[in-house]
Structure formats: structure tokens, C-alpha cells
């Protein structure tokens, strides 16, 4: 039979491949602990996905892969679906289930997309497994402000917090953006959003805050970001007379087109300026939108935390180490992946005695979850911080960036302008 021959060949090759994988053995007196990661590792997300993976690897390598006698093993999963190439709930659920089903798995690092986190948090929560995100900033995952009804309790079927983020959430960033816009002298704002969870969420917070502080908002309009032509919407903005365009979006959802075409339809400074959240703080954006347009719109971007080059102490060192180890600039969330992993390693260190005595895997995970929740005065890349009762960081340092002319290959860069509180 042809089929059986194919199967035989497959089994032989499989065994061959598997043998290659088990080569490296280490000294692990207390055994192995596995850290699962889950975020998109394909298509447009590949650079950021690799950056975060590098961040995790960096933190693990700092302790040579062992903590308190345990060897750490990182298992990278991809939560993008083959059917769509984007993050997919079903794949994310499968990843989370894979993690909780592995008796060596102790913690789940992920996700990148807040939508994916909504799927996996309840799963890890039921298993008492801590989940650490390097990138989710959707407020509702941890707190009531900026959340949908029922959030965040619906993610905690066990009634306790197992989800932690070492990065400030969007409710802070959107609000800070609105205040900054007012400080810059904006009189009338037009808000756009890409109709995705992150972009719409942050645009909604911006809109609400702006209205509260007396900054008129013409509209908060969703755009079809798959369109390479946004001139009609921008023409509408021009007709409305707004003097600031705020875009809730990321570089994957057409921000380049907006900025570039703002210039073409005559939405330029000083009459109209542009502001966006940290999803736009990527050099790729300036490349795609061209410096011409970015400078003409007097572009501003807010960022959760400090810019890498403004970091001091741990932050500065991490930044340098990353560049040295991987030979390139860290992506937006790469250092937060490293930070999250360090928090985990620190917590393992503190809870090692309990983990050792735990009678089953759930007890081990519960011990680590408690230890992470108890993280206080951690020496992080943005300074000292602690987790609050929601699993959020207790600092809300934000920085504001501005596009300026520069002597780089592109001709411009984002320059730190101000600290925002």
C-alpha cells in the first residue's frame, strides 16, 4: 500500500527529527519548568513577534537558564491562524490549553493582541496559571475604567487575579493624549479609529477625556483601513475645520496612508496637526508615510513608559544588552517581554521553596501566581514599580514624541519631547 509506505517514511523522519531536538542537556537538580509564550509569529507580525521572543530569551539567558535549581525552558507558540494569517481565537485557546495541559508548564507569557488575551485568560485562570503579557494594553482586561460591562471579572472565573501586565494600559494613554492635545493648544479634534480592539479602545478613551476637559470632538469615526485611499475621510475632516487629527490605530492598519494623504488634502500644520498612540511609534511608519508628510503634520505620538534611549539604570542596561545580543534595535514591546520574564524569574526565586513542596502542578502554579502578584518595588526598565490588586503596574509614566528632521537614512525620526503624567 502506498499510504502505509508514506506513513512509515513519515515516522522514520519524525523520529530522526525528534532525536535532533533533545541534544542539549543541562544540570537541573530540581527539574524543569516551562515558560509558554503565545503571540503571532508570521506575516506582518513577524518582526514584533521575534522581538518579544528575543526579549524573553534575553531575560532567561541573564540567569543562564536556571533559577533556584530549576531549568527554564521556553516554548514558543504562534497564535495566528493559517486560515487568516492573523491572531485567531481558536488557535489562542488551543495554545492556552496546551500550556495548562503540560505538567511542566508553570507560566504563560502572552498575548500580543488584547482580543487573544480575552480568550486565554479564563483558561489559564482556571488552571491557577499566571499569565504575563508583554503588550496587551486594552484596559478591560484588568480594570473597570475603559472596559465593557462585566469586565474584568469575566476573565477571572476562579475569582482571583492571574493576569499581569508590566506596562500601563490604554485608558491612561488615551487620557494623557487628550490632555497633551489640549496643552498643545488644540481647539477642535477629529478622532479616527481603525475599528480594532486597540485602536477603537484608545480612541474612545481619548474622546471621553477630551470632552471631559472641554476639548470639542467633532466625531469619532471608524475607517476602513484596508482601503489604500483615505482622501474622502480626510476631505471631510478638512471641511469640518478640526485642528487636530487623533488616530487610534497601529502601523499595520493604515496609519501611513492617513498621514501621507493628510498632506495631500492640505491638512498640514499649523492649521491641522496629527497625534496618535504608541502603536504608531515605529520607524516603519515614518518610512511608509514619508518624512515630508510626518513633518508637515507636526506629528505627535504618546508612548506608555519611557523611550528606550531615555531609560536609566536597568532600562538603559537592558536596551544595550538587547542591541548587543541581537544586533538590532528592540521592537516596541521587546523590552517589556524581557521585563515580564524577569518578574517571573524573580517570583520563581522567591517561591521556590513552596514550589518544591507543592503536591501537584496546580499548587506549583498557584505558588508562582501568588509570588508574582506580590511583586513589590521591582527594579524595572522604567524605574521602581509594584503590581496593584488588578495586576497592573502602579506607575503611569508616559512620554510624548514628535517627528523631527534627522540625519538618518530616512531623513527624520521620533524624538522624545516631554514626559506626560
Amino acid at each position: 500500500m502506498r499510504v502505509s509506505r508514506i506513513i512509515t517514511v513519515a515516522i522514520v523522519l519524525f523520529a530522526f527529527a525528534a532525536a535532533g531536538g533533545n541534544a542539549a542537556a543541562q544540570q537541573c537538580p530540581k527539574g524543569k519548568l516551562r515558560l509558554y509564550t503565545s503571540w503571532p509569529m508570521q506575516g506582518a507580525m513577524l518582526p514584533e513577534g521575534t522581538g518579544m521572543k528575543n526579549g524573553v530569551d534575553l531575560a532567561v539567558s541573564e540567569v543562564n537558564g536556571t533559577v533556584a535549581g530549576y531549568c527554564l525552558e521556553v516554548v514558543n507558540l504562534d497564535d495566528a491562524s493559517p486560515q487568516t494569517g492573523k491572531w485567531d481565537g481558536a488557535v489562542e485557546a488551543e495554545n492556552a490549553n496546551k500550556a495548562i495541559g503540560d505538567p511542566l508548564a508553570i507560566v504563560y507569557i502572552g498575548t500580543y493582541n488584547s482580543g487573544a488575551a480575552k480568550v486565554s485568560i479564563p483558561i489559564t485562570n482556571r488552571a491557577h496559571m499566571a499569565q504575563m503579557t508583554p503588550a496587551n494594553t486594552y484596559p478591560g482586561l484588568t480594570k473597570k475604567r475603559g472596559a465593557a460591562p462585566g469586565e474584568p471579572e469575566i476573565y477571572r472565573p476562579g475569582g482571583y487575579v492571574n493576569y499581569f501586565r508590566p506596562i500601563p494600559a490604554d485608558d491612561i494613554q488615551g487620557a494623557v493624549g487628550a490632555k497633551w492635545a489640549k496643552r498643545m493648544g488644540a481647539k477642535k479634534v477629529y478622532v479616527l479609529n481603525d475599528q480594532e480592539l486597540y485602536g477603537k479602545g484608545i480612541a474612545d478613551v481619548f474622546e471621553a477625556t477630551a470632552k471631559k476637559i472641554g476639548l470639542p470632538v467633532v466625531a469619532n469615526e471608524g475607517i476602513d483601513w484596508k482601503q489604500p485611499d483615505q482622501k474622502p475621510v480626510l476631505t471631510k475632516i478638512r471641511a469640518s475645520g478640526a485642528d487636530l487629527v487623533y488616530l487610534g490605530g497601529v502601523i499595520e492598519t493604515g496609519a501611513q496612508v492617513i498621514i501621507r494623504q493628510m498632506k495631500e488634502v492640505g491638512l498640514t500644520a499649523p492649521r491641522t496637526r496629527f497625534m496618535g498612540p504608541d502603536g504608531l511609534l515605529e520607524e516603519e511608519l515614518l518610512k511608509g508615510a514619508t518624512c515630508d508628510a510626518a513633518l508637515a503634520t507636526d506629528m505627535r505620538v504618546t508612548f506608555a513608559g519611557l523611550p528606550f534611549e531615555k531609560m536609566r539604570g536597568v532600562g538603559a542596561k537592558t536596551y544595550e544588552n538587547y542591541k548587543a545580543k541581537f544586533g538590532k534595535e528592540p521592537t516596541s514591546y521587546a523590552l517589556y517581554a524581557a521585563e515580564g520574564t524577569r518578574v517571573i524569574i524573580d517570583a520563581i526565586k522567591r517561591s521556590a521553596p513552596v514550589i518544591e513542596k507543592a503536591k501537584d502542578v496546580t499548587d506549583k502554579r498557584e505558588a508562582l501566581r501568588k509570588a508574582i502578584a506580590a511583586t513589590k518595588n521591582f527594579e524595572g526598565i522604567n524605574g521602581k514599580w509594584s503590581f496593584d490588586e488588578n495586576g497592573d503596574v502602579d506607575y503611569d509614566t508616559m512620554s510624548g514624541f514628535k517627528a523631527v528632521k534627522a540625519d538618518t537614512p530616512i531623513g527624520c525620526k521620533f524624538q522624545f519631547e516631554t514626559i506626560l503624567e
Binding site: 469615526e221 475607517i223 476602513d224 485611499d229 474622502p232 471631510k236 496612508v257 494623504q261 516603519e284 514619508t290
Partner: protein, 312 residues
């Protein structure tokens, strides 16, 4: 801006948007007319057209804005080179993926078209990377009303708007001439109407199909180049989105009808621009498709499509 100025400006936006849709739709409709295949790969040929034209510019050493005589030499040259490249690509796709299935069910070539579309997108992704690519400002951009006529108005009519229309119209006229006047064009129409009879009349059907794919590919290449110069941005997945819109335009106009495709493209361009302005951008897609459905319910063969007689 006054209400009228907004309407005029949005109509200019709609016109340029629609002209690009129309160019892509023409290729769709030609292929459909002749072998009744919804060629899903067509949008991706268009996308590659954009990247290929960029490559030709780079190869010719153009990185900035073209000036003076360059507009008359380099630009037409790149048009021709790009169109030749994508035309050849389109013919190759037909040869490999569709031609062996000519006598098969209609679903089989549809699936190979989807397969080819995936392959082209993957190639573009690996070639240009996932992020949007900035297409250089090769075509000088200025406000015609102000620069040429000295009118200081709230309406912008840029040189690039003019470029889209000025490049699209001659292409459409040339295509119309080609289809109605030339021997090859007549063979194309004959084959589209009745392949067996055309064959019986001594028309080389396979060569005619080849020519159709060649011309369709060339148009997609031209559309890619125009889109690149006009919107200055390119991304690996844009072909699928543009293809979807163009296919819609072709159907709205009456699939298989050349003037229908042009009309359908323009109608969708105008409708979507006006909807962005007067309703809401987030509903535009739904509105465009709703109008399409309503049109098809009342005119089941599109705006200009001919009712094919039911041969009893």
C-alpha cells in the same frame, strides 16, 4: 469649505478612486468574458505590478521626482516595461494553472486561481516584507488650480489627480479600439460569445485566450503603476482587497462588458467617496455592497450587461 466645494472635492476623490478600480476591473471582465473564470489572482498581478514598476524605477536609477524630459521618456518606458512584465506573468499563470483545466468543471480553475493568488502574495511578502512600502514621489505633485490658473480655491485638483485620469482614459480608449477594431480584438469577442463557433470559423481560440490574458495583465500592471504613483504606498495584501473591489465593479457594470467595468468602477468610486463624506466611513463597505445587491436584484445582469439568451 462650503457644501458645494465639499461635494466637488469628494467627487474628484471618487473619480480618481474609481478610475483605478475601473482599470483593474477591465482585466477581470476580459478574462471572465472569454473563459468565464473569476480570476482571483488578477488583483495580485495588480499588486505585483506596483512592486515591479518600483523595481523598474530603481533599475533605471529613479529615486526622486521625475522632471521635464524624464516625464516624457522614463515614465512611458516604465509603463511599457511594467505592463510587459505583468502581461507575461499573467500569460504564464494562465498557461500553468488555468489552461490544463479548460474542459474541466468551473470550480477547478476557480480554486487554482485562489491558489495562485496565495502564492503571489507570499512571494510579495517575502520580497518586500510585511510593512507597507513607501512608493517614491516619482510624479511631481502640485495643485493645478493654483499653479496653472492662479485660482486660490478650497478645492484641490492636483497634478496626480490629472495623471490618473490622463493615464486611464487613453488606456481605456486604446482597449476599446483594440477590441472593436483589430483582428485580435474581434477574435476575442467572437471567442467570448461562442467558443465552439469561433473555433469552427478558424479562430485560434487558445491564442485568443493568451492575448486576452496578456492584455489583462498589461492593464493590471498599468493600474499598479498608477496606484503606486498616486497613493504612494504598497503592501503585499493590497491585491486581494483591490481585486475584491474591482470584481465588484465588474459585476456591477455587467461582467463581460468592457464599458460596464469602466462604469462600475466609477460608480463604486463615487459612491464610496460620497458615503465616506455624508454617511460614515465605517458603513461604506456595507453600503457599496448593499447597492450592488439591489442593482443586481433589479438588473440581474448588471448595469450594462447583456441578457444572455437561454438556448433552449
Amino acid at each position: 469649505m462650503t457644501g458645494w466645494e465639499v461635494l466637488i472635492q469628494q467627487s474628484i476623490n471618487g473619480l480618481t478612486r474609481g478610475a483605478v478600480f475601473a482599470l483593474i476591473a477591465l482585466g477581470y471582465t476580459m478574462v471572465y468574458g472569454i473563459i468565464e473564470l473569476i480570476n482571483f489572482a488578477h488583483g495580485d498581478v495588480f499588486m505585483l505590478g506596483l512592486f515591479i514598476s518600483l523595481a523598474w524605477f530603481t533599475l533605471l536609477g529613479v529615486t526622486g521626482t521625475l522632471t521635464g524630459w524624464q516625464l516624457l521618456t522614463v515614465l512611458p518606458l516604465v509603463f511599457v516595461l511594467t505592463m510587459l512584465t505583468t502581461a507575461t506573468l499573467n500569460v504564464a499563470i494562465d498557461r500553468v494553472a488555468y489552461r490544463p483545466l479548460r474542459r474541466s468543471t468551473r470550480l477547478a480553475p476557480l480554486i487554482t486561481a485562489i491558489g495562485v493568488s496565495f502564492m503571489l502574495e507570499n512571494v510579495a511578502l517575502l520580497w518586500k516584507g510585511p510593512a507597507p512600502i513607501a512608493y517614491p514621489d516619482v510624479f511631481p505633485s502640485f495643485d493645478i488650480l493654483r499653479e496653472w490658473f492662479g485660482v486660490d480655491s478650497a478645492i484641490f485638483l492636483t497634478s496626480k489627480d490629472l495623471l490618473v485620469v490622463a493615464a486611464t482614459l487613453p488606456l481605456m480608449v486604446a482597449l476599446h479600439y483594440f477590441v472593436t477594431r483589430t483582428r485580435w480584438g474581434k477574435a476575442m469577442r467572437a471567442t467570448a460569445q461562442d467558443r465552439e463557433t469561433a473555433q469552427a470559423m478558424g479562430i485560434n481560440v487558445e491564442r485568443t485566450i493568451l492575448i486576452t490574458f496578456f492584455v489583462g495583465g498589461a492593464l493590471a500592471g498599468a493600474a499598479g503603476l498608477i496606484q503606486g504613483m498616486y497613493y504612494n504606498i504598497g503592501q503585499w495584501w493590497m491585491g486581494y482587497q483591490a481585486g475584491l473591489r474591482a470584481f465588484t465593479a465588474a459585476v456591477l457594470g455587467g461582467i463581460g462588458s468592457m464599458s460596464g467595468a469602466a462604469l462600475g468602477g466609477l460608480v463604486i468610486g463615487f459612491l464610496s467617496a460620497w458615503s465616506d463624506q455624508y454617511i460614515s466611513a465605517r458603513w461604506t463597505n456595507a453600503i457599496v455592497f448593499s447597492i450592488l445587491i439591489v442593482v443586481l436584484v433589479f438588473r440581474p445582469h448588471g448595469l450594462l450587461g447583456e441578457r444572455t439568451a437561454d438556448k433552449a
